[in-house]
Every structure is written in C-alpha cells, then in structure tokens.
C-alpha cells in the first residue's frame, strides 16, 4: 500500500543501534500517523487470506466444543479468580483461558469457536461495541494481554505455574478501579478467549510486559488463531479480535487495534518466532513465517515502535537462538501518551462510528481524558512527591519508566536564565516563578506545616487524580517556557519593582532583628537579567521610493493619524476652577517631586548594575536629579531659600507630608534645617490641616535626625520658632507631634550641654529663657490639653533640673509623667 514499509525495512536492516533507529522510526511513524491515520497498514492481504483459509480447514474439526467446556474449566481454575470470576463468567470470551490450562486443544478450538461466535455477534453489534471498545481500556488490555497468553501444551507445567503466579500477581492489580469496567459481551475479542487473565483487571503496561516476558510464549496453536484473527479485519470496521499480539503496545493502542486497526500479521509471526525459540517447531501454519524476509513488527500506521518489537524482528532471523526477553530488559518503553498523538486516538475513536452528538463517549475531549485516565490507572500506585498541592502534578511521579533525571524542578529557572541562584529546591512543584530565597523558605515552612496534616487524609485520592496527565511533561515545559520568555526583563529592578524592594526591606528588617551573634548568612535575591538589546525599529525603506511606505506589522501598526500630544501649560491650568485646581496643582507638584525622589533613591542600585560606559551618564543624571530635588521646595528657580509657602502647601496634602518625610534625608543639611524650621514655624497651621489625617507623626523620624545634627544656635532658633507668637506653644503642646518635637529639641539641648562642656548653648540667654517659658507653659496648661508625645526622652528631667527648683520639678514630673532615672 504505502511506501513507508520499505523505508522502515531499510532502517531495520541497517540499524546498529536499537535506540537510534527507533527514534527515527518513531518520528516517521508519528508523522505517518498524523498524516494518514493509524489505519495505514502495509500488508499483503492475499497472503493473509491464503493462510487463513488453511487455518479454517484445520480448525473446523474442533468447532464442536462449545462454551460449556470453557465454563467448567473456568470453575476448576478457581483460586486466583476472586473478583474477576464474576466478570469472567459474564463474558463469554473469558473462559477459554481457563480451559486452555486444562484442555489445550479444546481451548484452541473452543477459542476458535468462540471467535466464530464472537465475530458473528460482533458484526451485529459492531457500532456499539466499537464505541465501547474505545473506552473500556482494561478489558481490552486484559483481552490483549490474555490473547498473548497462549495455550499451554501439556508439557509446559512450568509455564503454567509461572502464569498462575502472575495471575496471582495480576489479580490484586485488577482491583484498581477503573471507571469503565464492565463486561463486554461483544467486545471480548476472540483472542481473549485464550486469556484467563481477569478480564476486568487493568493490566498495566509493565505487567503486560512482565507477563510477556515471563511466559515464554507458549503461543503455539494460539499463533495460528492469532493469525486467523489478525487477518479477520482489514478495515477500521473489522472489530478485530486478536490484536492479541499487541502486548508490547500500550493498552490504548490495543484498543485502537481492536477498534479498527487492520491486523498485524507480522505480530503473529513474531510470536511464533519467539515461540520457536523454545518449543517444538510450530505447526505448518506458521512455517511460512520462518525465513521470510524481515517484516516490520509493527505496521507503518501504528505508533512508534517499542523495543520489544525490534527484538521480535530479530527473532525471526534467529528462531532458535535469541530469547525475546534479553534485549529489552533495560529499556522501558515510554508510556502511552507520548507516543500516540491525540489525533490518532481521535481518529480511531471517532472515525468508524461518528455517532451523533449524543454519544459523548466518543467525543474528543473525553478521549483525552480517557488517555489520561489510562495513564493514571497505570501508575495508580505511584505516589506523588511529598505534600505538594496537586495543581501542577509533578510529572516525575509518573515517569518511573524513564529513569532519567527529573526535569520538573528545572522549570523554575526558565530556559534562558543564566542562573546563579543559591537556592535550594523546595517541593513546591512546578512553581516556575523566581522567588526570593527568603520567600521560598517561608513557603516551604508553610508547606511542611500544612502538608503534615494533609498527607494523611489526602494521600489516597490524590494518587489517582482522574484529571492529571492531560498534558505530557514536554507539553507542560513548552507552555511554561513560553510564559517565562515573556517575563524576561532587561531591568528587573524596574519591571519587578514591588517584589524586589519588598524583599529588600524584609532583608533589612531581618538583619536588624537578628542579633549579631548568630551571623546567619542572609541570602540575597539574585535576579536573572537578560542583556538589553537595542531594539530600534527602522521602518522598511526602499531606495528611490517616494513618500512613506504603508508597511505595517504586528509590532508596528500603521499610523493612521499623525497625532501630536500637546501638554497643557501651567498658565492654562491656572485658569481652571480655583479650589480643585489648587489641590490638583499641589498633587501634581507632589508627584513630580516624587518621581525625582524615586529616581534619586534608585540611583545607587542602578549604578551598581550599570555597565561601565553607562555609569558616567548615570552619574550626571543623578546630579541633575538631586539638584532639581533641592530646588523643588523653592519658590522660584533662582531663589536659594526653601520656600515656606511651598513647604506648607505641599504638606497640606497627606501625600505631601509623606513626601517631605522621605525627602528630608536626601536634602543637603542647610535645606533640611530650613525645612524643619518651616515646619516648626508653621506648626499650628499644619496641625490644623492635619486634623483629619493625623499623619504629622510621619515626620518625627526624619526631623529628629535633622535635629541631632543641628548646631546649638540653630537649635535655639528652632525652639524659638516653635514658640513663635503668643499662644503658639499652647497649640503646639496640644498637638502630639508638637509635643514630640518640643521634647526632641529639649532633649537635644540637654544632650549638647551634658556632653560638650564647651557648648555654646548657654552663651546667650536665649536658650535659658526659652526653656523657662516652656516650663512655665507646661506647668500652666491643664493636663487634659497636653497631648502625650510619641516618646519621651530620658534626659528631660536633667534638663529641667538645671532651670527650675525642686518643687516645680516634682510638679512637672508628675504632669508630664516623666520618670526620673537619677533618683
């Protein structure tokens, strides 16, 4: 039929390495599959027919034995068939296996008979049966597997025992619940007539392999039937019984074969070849096989070969020498989903019987799930790794066959990231995001805390998630790759601003909290950075063309309108509504200053990461920014003084106060002092405006820092400013921030006096006077109107004790609730 066969044959002949060729063949077959559908089989029907005809004559004799025999035998068999026995009885096709054990010849014929009966029935219910066939994997598998298990000749007691062993082994496995288990009267392929394997048992792929290997192919007469059965159907509608020999195929493949894949007579031949290695030369029916040119074990249209197939091929050449088992031990064929494309499966599920929309069982979606379920059931016993949430099922749990390194966690790095991350690999599954080590640590701790509870209860059902494995590992990686590629950034500090800075702050916090004794190495976040490539787009230009070319692409859509963005000037803004305008202006100013501030703040980080050549430019820009920042508080550009008005204006807005508090550390000392002065001077106003927000206290920290660095003269000035006009102090004291500020000033003064003997604070009387007035005020105002400060400096008592007498001191102490340390 198709040429592919020869291609494969060539490959086979030339192959030295099983693996290599196999891959090529895999690809070829996959390709064929996709193109032509899995139904493309290249075999010679005429030859088949001839052989079948011969078989037919021979087997007609044994036809007399009916089902009844099988039944009796089956009951005799007894032991290993606990739960499956019911299934066996219900399905006619099951029996022959048991009969096979005791009555080899009978069984073959009975099986044969069965197949006849089956066929007749099958044609009748073809459509339904095919539909169900697709879905019922296990019976199919059982059927397939069973079919493989050939009839025993009486001198094969050993094998019989081994088989019973296997049956025992298999029957527990049969208990793995498969949703679609139910007796199939019609579907039972005649091949399964020889199989006694608990039909409802879900034989996993490995088990089948195992069985195949350990049962040294006592196929014998079975072969003949296989061939006959194999050649029974030549089209998708054949409802072939004997995809017997497909034990080496994945279970679902067998379904496909059952559904419609034309026979693979070579399979039968292979089996015979295998058989021959251990047994008496087979009956005449199989002789044409021996010595015939090597045939592909698997027809072209089928999914990629398994190693088993290969060895079988070789078998034919050396019928006496080589054992099947030997070459394939080391290699596990990959599980089903990787080899068979969903298309193939779909083709087979749907093509022969595209029922109407009301047979959802044959829908593409379901077949996908079927496939996944199959795989799941295969690996039902394999536990997943740790208490991992099953959102992204770790593919590793399902790939014990591969034996290769687990690719899962490699995800996290993303393919193009050159990672030097000192991270440990936590069991967070397919978390492909790049997390700060601290973050990861927190997460793992959490997992461990919770996983302990979960693993006890959830372990069982989680092992068999019916919706896992819908995608292969490669597919998952592919999708993840795409997503991660989109997230590559040239400037992680900018693109990932929040995350980076958040964890930086956390690090700093931790460093502060941690005592210096245990110098635990704080892991830093190293963000992978992709080199910035200049992507200057140059539109396509043709030499000599006139005008602009209308060339547009996805990345450069055509410019329809030459729109120019015009920003409204400040003058225009002032013409707007006054009240809102004012506020908006303030906000606008605040934002402008903020952007400058952020630029300045991030300068250091960017400087470190910038390449050499960029550094100078960066530095220049930084200087400009800083300058602008300084000038931002000035009324006019040339005026070097910090504008009071402007400060107050900014601070009338909540955002502004925050801004000022962040801005002060970046200002030069003179400017900073001026700002603080302005604050002190205008405290009443500020206090009034802050009544709603109550956020003045944000300023405490930066202001205190400034105060610490002030000179005595400046301090005095500040105190004076604070007191300012009549009654201001009262207002100040009424406000929490004001009180705090006052205390700060006083405390600083005291510190100066006590620490520095040369302190000029006492040189002029201003300071003393101011303190006096302060104490007077403090004593006079009612306690209720005195707000408690944010914190009380400890040296206040010392300060006051310098200036006032004991009595007053006590009073003051009581009022202010200052504890005296000296006493």
């Amino acid at each position: 039929m198709f040429r592919f066969q020869s291609l494969d044959e060539d490959c086979t002949l030339e192959e030295e390495d099983d693996g290599l060729v196999e891959e090529e063949e895999d690809e070829i077959d996959q390709f064929n599959d996709d193109t032509f559908g899995a139904g493309a089989i290249d075999d010679d029907w005429q030859e088949e027919h001839k052989r079948l005809a011969e078989l037919d004559e021979r087997d007609e004799l044994g036809e007399g034995l009916g089902v009844g025999v099988g039944v009796k035998d089956e009951t005799n068999f007894g032991a290993s068939k606990d739960s499956s026995s019911t299934h066996v009885t219900s399905t006619a096709g099951q029996l022959p296996f048991h009969s096979a054990l005791s009555l080899p010849h009978h069984s073959s014929s009975s099986g044969r008979h069965q197949s006849d009966v089956e066929d007749g029935r099958r044609e009748g219910h073809l459509a339904e049966s095919l539909a169900r066939l697709v879905l019922e994997a296990d019976p199919a598998i059982a059927g397939v597997g069973a079919a493989e298990r050939p009839v025993f000749s009486q001198n094969q007691r050993l094998e019989h025992e081994s088989r019973s062993r296997l049956l025992h082994q298999a029957s527990p496995i049969s208990h793995s619940p498969h949703p679609h288990q139910h007796p199939q009267q019609h579907q039972r392929p005649p091949g399964s007539s020889t199989s006694g394997q608990p039909p409802s048992s879900m034989l996993t792929y490995q088990q089948q392999q195992h069985l195949l290997r350990s049962l040294p192919s006592t196929i014998g007469q079975m072969n003949s039937r296989n061939i006959w059965e194999n050649s029974m159907g030549f089209g998708p509608v054949s409802g072939c019984p004997g995809l017997v020999t497909h034990m080496e195929d994945s279970p679902l493949m067998s379904i496909i074969k059952e559904v419609g894949l034309p026979k693979r007579p070579s399979q039968g031949r292979n089996d015979e070849g295998r058989d021959l290695s251990e047994r008496v030369p087979p009956p005449r029916s199989s002789s044409p096989v021996i010595g015939s040119p090597p045939v592909r074990a698997v027809p072209i249209g089928t999914p990629p070969k398994q190693p088993l197939g290969h060895s079988l091929n070789h078998q034919i050449h050396h019928p006496t020498a080589v054992h099947v088992r030997a070459p394939i031990q080391h290699r596990y064929p990959p599980p089903f989903p990787e080899r068979l494309s969903p298309n193939t499966l779909l083709n087979f599920a749907n093509s022969p019987l595209c029922r109407g929309p009301f047979s959802p069982r044959v829908s593409p979606v379901l077949s996908q799930i079927q496939r996944a379920q199959l795989l799941n059931s295969q690996v039902a016993g394999v536990p997943r790794g740790g208490p991992v949430p099953t959102l992204l099922p770790a593919g590793g749990g399902f790939r014990p066959f591969f034996g290769g390194p687990h690719p899962t966690l490699g995800h996290r790095m993303g393919p193009p990231h050159p990672h030097g991350h000192p991270n440990h690999m936590p069991p967070i599954g397919h978390n492909a995001t790049h997390l700060h080590p601290q973050h990861r640590r927190i997460l793992t701790q959490r997992m461990q805390n919770r996983g302990g509870d979960r693993s006890r209860t959830g372990g069982d059902w989680r092992n068999r998630d019916p919706y896992s494995n819908l995608m292969t590992q490669k597919e998952k990686e592919w999708v993840t790759k795409i997503q991660m590629m989109q997230l590559q950034s040239t400037d992680p500090f900018l693109d990932d601003y929040y995350y980076q800075h958040y964890y930086e702050k956390m690090e700093k916090r931790q460093e502060k909290e941690r005592d210096s004794s245990k110098k635990e190495h704080t892991t830093k976040l190293i963000t992978p950075q992709v080199a910035k490539i200049e992507h200057t787009y140059r539109p396509v230009q043709f030499a000599g063309s006139l005008g602009k070319l209308t060339v547009s692409s996805v990345n450069n859509p055509r410019k329809m309108i030459d729109a120019v963005v015009t920003t409204r000037s400040d003058d225009e803004e002032k013409r707007e509504k006054q009240v809102w305008n004012k506020r908006r202006q303030i906000l606008y100013t605040v934002e402008k200053i903020y952007s400058l501030l952020l630029e300045v703040q991030d300068f250091e980080k960017r400087f470190v990461h910038a390449p050499e050549e960029d550094r100078e430019a960066l530095l220049e820009q930084h200087k400009t920014n800083t300058m602008q920042l300084c000038n931002s508080l000035q009324e006019k550009e040339w005026d070097d003084r910090v504008s009071d008005e402007r400060c107050v204006m900014i601070m009338s807005v909540r955002k502004g106060k925050r801004l000022i508090s962040r801005l002060i550390p970046y200002l030069p000392p003179s400017h900073a002092a001026a700002v603080v002065m302005a604050i002190a001077r205008n405290l009443p106003t500020l206090a009034k405006k802050d009544k709603q927000d109550q956020v003045l206290c944000w300023l405490v920290e930066p202001v205190s820092a400034v105060i610490m660095s002030m000179s005595s003269a400046a301090l005095t000035d500040l105190l004076q400013e604070l007191q300012g006009s009549e009654g201001q102090l009262a207002t100040v004291l009424h406000n929490k921030f004001g009180v705090t500020l006052l205390y700060l000033i006083l405390s600083e003064g005291e510190r100066m006096q006590s620490s520095d003997p040369n302190c000029q604070l006492m040189d002029d009387n201003r300071w003393t006077e101011l303190v006096f007035s302060v104490t007077r005020e403090l004593l006079s105002i009612p306690t209720s109107s005195l707000s408690s400060p944010l914190f009380t400096p400890t040296n206040l008592i010392a300060l006051f004790s310098r200036y006032i007498d004991r009595q007053r001191l006590d009073l003051l102490q009581e009022k202010l609730q200052i504890s005296d340390l000296s006493r």
Binding site: H439, Q483, R658
Partner: protein
C-alpha cells in the same frame, strides 16, 4: 510588555491567605500558590467563604482562577507595603510615559 506591577505585587504575596471574589459573586478563600503575568491565580486549600451556597465546591481543594474573572482580591493588610506599592505605581507611570 505587560504591566507587571500587580504581578510583582502578587508575587510577594505568594503563600499568604487571600480571599478572591469573582465576577460571578463566588468568594474563594485560600492560600495563594502562584500567579502569572495575566494575574491568573492558583489557590490551594480553598474554602468557599460566605454561606456555602456553592456546594459544588465542597470537594475542591485547589483551584486555578483565570485573571479576567477576578473582581476583588482581599489581602492581609500587614503583608502589603502601601508606600512601596505607590512608588511602584509611580515608576510604572513614569515608564509608560516614556
């Protein structure tokens, strides 16, 4: 390039408990497992807050929520640095302008 501000923000919240309210009025409480640039959210250990009038969610332990169907995400307040978020937004705005 997508707006990564909230992706960055949610990344910092991975592992914390959040309540996601969807546009179909379903509120789901769970631990934030992961987020992507589309703000699709994966939650583990979920429970439907509010009266369990959505019994079909009883057996669900983990879920994936498409970003476009989220109405609100309720966060623990102490896990959020609003100042930093504001700064990030400013940066983003600056970037967009350029």
């Amino acid at each position: 390039m997508f707006c990564l501000l909230f992706y960055s923000f949610f990344k910092s919240l991975v592992g914390k408990d959040v309540v996601v309210e969807l546009k179909n009025d379903l509120s789901i409480c769970g631990t934030l497992h992961s987020v992507d640039q589309y703000l699709n959210i994966k939650l583990t250990d979920i429970s439907v807050t509010d009266p369990e009038k959505y019994p079909h969610m009883l057996s669900v332990k983990n879920c994936f929520i498409r970003g476009s169907v989220v109405r609100y995400v309720q966060l623990p307040a102490d896990e959020v640095d609003t100042q930093l978020l504001q700064d990030a937004a400013r940066k983003e705005a600056m970037q967009q302008k350029q």
